[in-house]
C-alpha cells in the first residue's frame, strides 16, 4: 500500500510542475507589458518602470524568474492582489469556505438523490421509473446551469417569493466568522432566524450546482449496477434462492459502488467549473465568482494564484479518490 501511495505521488510531481509553468507562463503570454500588468499602475515614468521591473524580477533571465516564482510558492507567497492589495493566499482563505460549503452541500445532495435513483432504475430496468429518472438525468446532464439558476430565481424568488435572490445571509444578521460555513456560524451565533436565513440563501445555489453531478452519478450508478447484476456471482446468489434484497444489497451494491465512488470524487472539477457560474448568478462570495471578477478587473496576480490553487486542489482531491479506490479495490493496489 505504501508503495502504491508513493507511486501515485511520484506520478503527480510532473503534473504539478506543469501547473506551475502554466500559471507562471500565463502572465508572460498576456498581450501587453508584464510589468504594467503585474504592478497595476498606470502612466509610469521610465525610472519607476525600471524600479518595478527589478522589484518584480522581470529584468532577470526567464528561467531564474521561474525558479524565484517556485521559491516564493514554497514560502506560501502567491503574490498580492492588485485590487485589494492583500496577499492572494489570504484572499483565497477568506473566500474558500463559501465555495466549500456550497460544493459540499451540492455533492451531498447530488449523491443522496442521484445514487438511489440510478440503483433503483437499474433494478427496475425498463420500468416507467427507470425511463423517467434516466430521462431527467439526461436533461440534467444537458442543462446550461446558468440558465437553470435564472429560472429557479424567476420561479422561487420572483413568483413565489420563497427564497432570496443573492448572497449568503440576510444583511440583518452579523456575527463573527468561526468556521466560515454560514449555516454552522449562524447556529453558533444563537441569533433568532439567522440559521433559517443562511439555509434559505443556500438552497437554490445548491440545487443549481448539484444538477450536473446528480445526473452523472445517477447515470453511472445505473450502468455500474446493471453491469454487476449481469455477473455470474449475482446469478449464483439468485440461484441459491437468496431474497432479491439480499442479492442486490449484499452482493451487487457493494461491487457497483466502487466505480460510483470514483465518479463522485471526480466531480470536484465539475463542481469548480460549476461554481464559477453558480456563484456569479447568485452573487455567492466564493472563489468562483472571485475568479471571474479578477479576470474582468485584470487583477492578474489573483488570477494566477487562483488558477494555481484551484488546479492543485482538484489534483489533490483526484489523488485522494485514486487512493481511496485502491483502498476499496485491492485488485488495483497489487497490480
Amino acid at each position: 500500500m505504501f508503495r502504491f501511495v508513493l507511486g501515485k505521488l511520484a506520478y503527480l510531481v510532473p503534473t504539478f510542475i506543469g501547473i506551475t509553468i502554466v500559471a507562471f507562463g500565463f502572465v508572460r503570454v498576456l498581450p501587453g507589458d508584464p510589468v504594467l500588468l503585474m504592478a497595476g499602475e498606470r502612466g509610469l515614468t521610465a525610472e519607476r518602470h525600471a524600479e518595478l521591473s527589478a522589484q518584480l524580477g522581470f529584468d532577470r533571465p526567464i528561467w531564474q524568474q521561474y525558479l524565484d516564482f517556485l521559491g516564493r510558492l514554497f514560502q506560501g507567497d502567491f503574490g498580492t492582489s492588485l485590487v485589494t492589495k492583500k496577499p492572494v493566499l489570504t484572499e483565497f482563505f477568506t473566500l474558500f469556505p463559501a465555495t466549500l460549503e456550497l460544493s459540499l452541500c451540492a455533492i451531498l445532495v447530488a449523491t443522496l438523490v442521484g445514487l438511489p435513483l440510478g440503483i433503483f432504475a437499474a433494478i427496475r430496468r425498463g420500468s416507467w421509473f427507470d425511463q423517467i429518472s434516466m430521462s431527467s438525468a439526461l436533461v440534467g446532464y444537458s442543462m446550461p446551469i446558468f440558465w437553470w439558476g435564472l429560472l429557479l430565481i424567476i420561479f422561487f424568488s420572483g413568483v413565489l417569493g420563497w427564497t432570496p435572490v443573492s448572497g449568503r445571509i440576510s444583511l440583518m444578521f452579523y456575527f463573527p466568522t468561526v468556521t466560515g460555513f454560514m449555516t454552522i456560524d449562524s447556529l453558533l451565533s444563537g441569533q433568532d432566524g439567522a440559521f433559517t436565513s443562511a439555509l434559505s440563501h443556500l438552497i437554490l445555489p445548491t440545487i443549481v450546482l448539484a444538477t450536473i453531478p446528480m445526473a452523472v452519478i445517477a447515470r453511472q450508478a445505473r450502468s455500474a449496477m446493471l453491469e454487476v447484476l449481469g455477473e455470474d456471482y449475482v446469478r449464483t446468489a439468485r440461484a441459491k434462492g437468496l431474497s432479491a434484497w439480499r442479492v442486490v444489497g449484499l452482493h451487487a451494491l457493494r461491487n457497483a459502488l466502487i466505480p460510483v465512488i470514483t465518479t463522485i470524487g471526480l466531480q470536484v472539477g465539475t463542481l469548480m467549473g460549476g461554481a464559477i457560474l453558480t456563484e456569479t448568478i447568485f452573487s455567492w462570495p466564493g472563489i468562483g465568482k472571485a475568479m471571474v471578477d479578477s479576470i474582468s478587473r485584470r487583477d492578474y496576480p489573483s488570477v494566477q494564484g487562483g488558477l494555481l490553487i484551484i488546479a492543485a486542489l482538484v489534483m489533490t482531491v483526484n489523488l485522494l479518490v485514486d487512493l481511496l479506490y485502491g483502498l476499496i479495490n485491492p485488485r488495483i493496489r497489487h497490480r
Binding site: P14, T15, G18, I19, I21, V22, F26, V29, L30, P31, S135, L138, V139, Y141, S142, M143, P144, F146, W147, W148, L150, L151, I153, I154, S157, G158, L226, G230, G269, T270, M272, G273, I276, L277, T280, M291, V292, I295, S296, V303, L307, I310, A311, V314, M315
Partner: protein
C-alpha cells in the same frame, strides 16, 4: 474511411452499406437517439435557412415594441411570436440566427479538437517512450484545470470574442481525444494486422493513418458527440460571462447575459434562449447515447 478501399470498389460499397445498415439497426433501437437525430436535423435546417425563416432582422431594433411579451400572453403582439427584448429586437429571429452560431461553434470546436487530439494521440501511442510521456504529462496538466476556468483564462489572454472562445474550448477539450486515440492505438499496435502491414513494408505514416486510425474511430465518434454538446454549453457559458460572442451577436449565451437584468420583469427574454440551448444540447446528447450503444460492441448484447 472510404478512400482506403478504392481498388475494390464494388465489394467495399456493399460492405459499407452493410455496415451502415447494421449501425442504423442498433442506433434506431434507441428511440431517444432517433428523436435526438430528428431534432438535430431540424435545428441544422433552421440554421441553414435562417434568413428565409426568421420573421425579422436579428439586430433590427423596433423602438415602439420594447420588452413585448410573447404573442399568446396578455399585451402580446402577433408580429413578435416569442416577444421582444429590451431594445425591441424579435427574440424568435435572434434564436433562429443563434442556432447558426451554436452549431457552427460545435462543428469548429469538434473538428479542431478532434484533429489535434488524433494527431497528438497517434504520435504518443505510436512512438511511445519519452515522446509519449511528455505528451501525456502535458495533457494531464490541461486536464488538471476545471475546463471552464481554463477556457476563461485563455480567453482573458486572447481577448474576449467568439473566435477566441472557440480556440480556448477546443484546446480544453482536445486532451480527451488525445487520450482516447492513444489508448486505442496502444490496444491495436500489438495486433496481427498491424504486424502484417508493417512486414509488408508500410511506412510509419501509412501505419498510423491508414492501418490503425480507422480501427480506433468508434470511441472517438462518441467522444466527438459529447464534445459537440459540451462545446455549445461552454461557449454559451463564456458568452453568459461576457467573454464569448460580443453584443449584439444573437448568440444564445450572450442573449442570456443581456437578459439577466430583466429576469424578474420579463421572463421571456431569459426563458427562450436557455430553452434553445437545452434542447440543442439534449438532442445531441440523446444522439450520443444512441451512438455509444450502436458502436460499443460490449453493450450490443444488451
Amino acid at each position: 474511411m472510404t478512400s482506403t478501399t478504392t481498388e475494390i470498389e464494388p465489394v467495399a460499397a456493399t460492405g459499407l452499406r452493410a455496415q451502415l445498415s447494421e449501425f442504423w439497426h442498433y442506433f434506431s433501437v434507441n428511440k431517444g437517439a432517433v428523436i435526438g437525430l430528428w431534432v438535430f436535423v431540424a435545428l441544422a435546417l433552421v440554421a441553414l435557412f435562417a434568413p428565409l425563416i426568421a420573421p425579422h432582422d436579428p439586430i433590427e431594433q423596433v423602438r415602439d415594441a420594447l420588452l413585448m411579451p410573447p404573442a399568446w400572453a396578455e399585451k402580446g403582439d402577433a408580429r413578435f411570436l416569442l416577444g421582444t427584448d429590451a431594445v425591441g429586437r424579435d427574440i424568435l429571429s435572434r434564436l433562429i440566427f443563434g442556432a447558426r452560431y451554436s452549431l457552427f461553434i460545435g462543428c469548429v470546436v469538434v473538428v479542431v479538437a478532434l484533429s489535434g487530439g488524433i494527431l497528438i494521440g497517434l504520435v504518443a501511442g505510436f512512438f511511445g517512450g519519452w515522446v509519449d510521456t511528455v505528451i501525456m504529462r502535458v495533457m494531464d496538466v490541461i486536464l488538471a484545470f476545471p475546463s471552464l476556468l481554463l477556457a476563461l483564462v485563455l480567453v482573458a489572454i486572447l481577448g474576449p470574442g467568439l473566435t477566441n472562445a472557440m480556440i480556448a474550448i477546443a484546446l480544453v477539450l482536445q486532451p480527451h481525444f488525445a487520450r482516447l486515440t492513444r489508448a486505442a492505438v496502444m490496444a491495436e499496435l500489438p495486433r496481427e494486422y498491424v504486424m502484417a502491414s508493417r512486414v509488408a513494408g508500410a511506412g510509419k505514416m501509412r501505419l498510423m493513418f491508414r492501418t490503425i486510425l480507422p480501427n480506433c474511430l468508434a470511441p472517438l465518434i462518441v467522444q466527438a458527440t459529447l464534445s459537440f454538446s459540451g462545446a455549445i454549453l461552454d461557449a454559451a457559458a463564456l458568452g453568459f460571462l461576457g467573454m464569448g460572442a460580443q453584443r449584439p451577436t444573437p448568440e444564445w449565451g450572450t442573449m442570456l447575459a443581456e437578459a439577466r437584468e430583466f429576469i424578474l420583469a420579463a421572463w421571456w427574454v431569459v426563458t427562450f434562449p436557455g430553452l434553445a440551448i437545452l434542447i440543442t444540447v439534449l438532442a445531441i446528447n440523446l444522439m450520443g447515447d444512441g451512438l455509444r450503444d450502436a458502436l460499443d460492441p460490449k453493450l450490443k448484447r444488451s
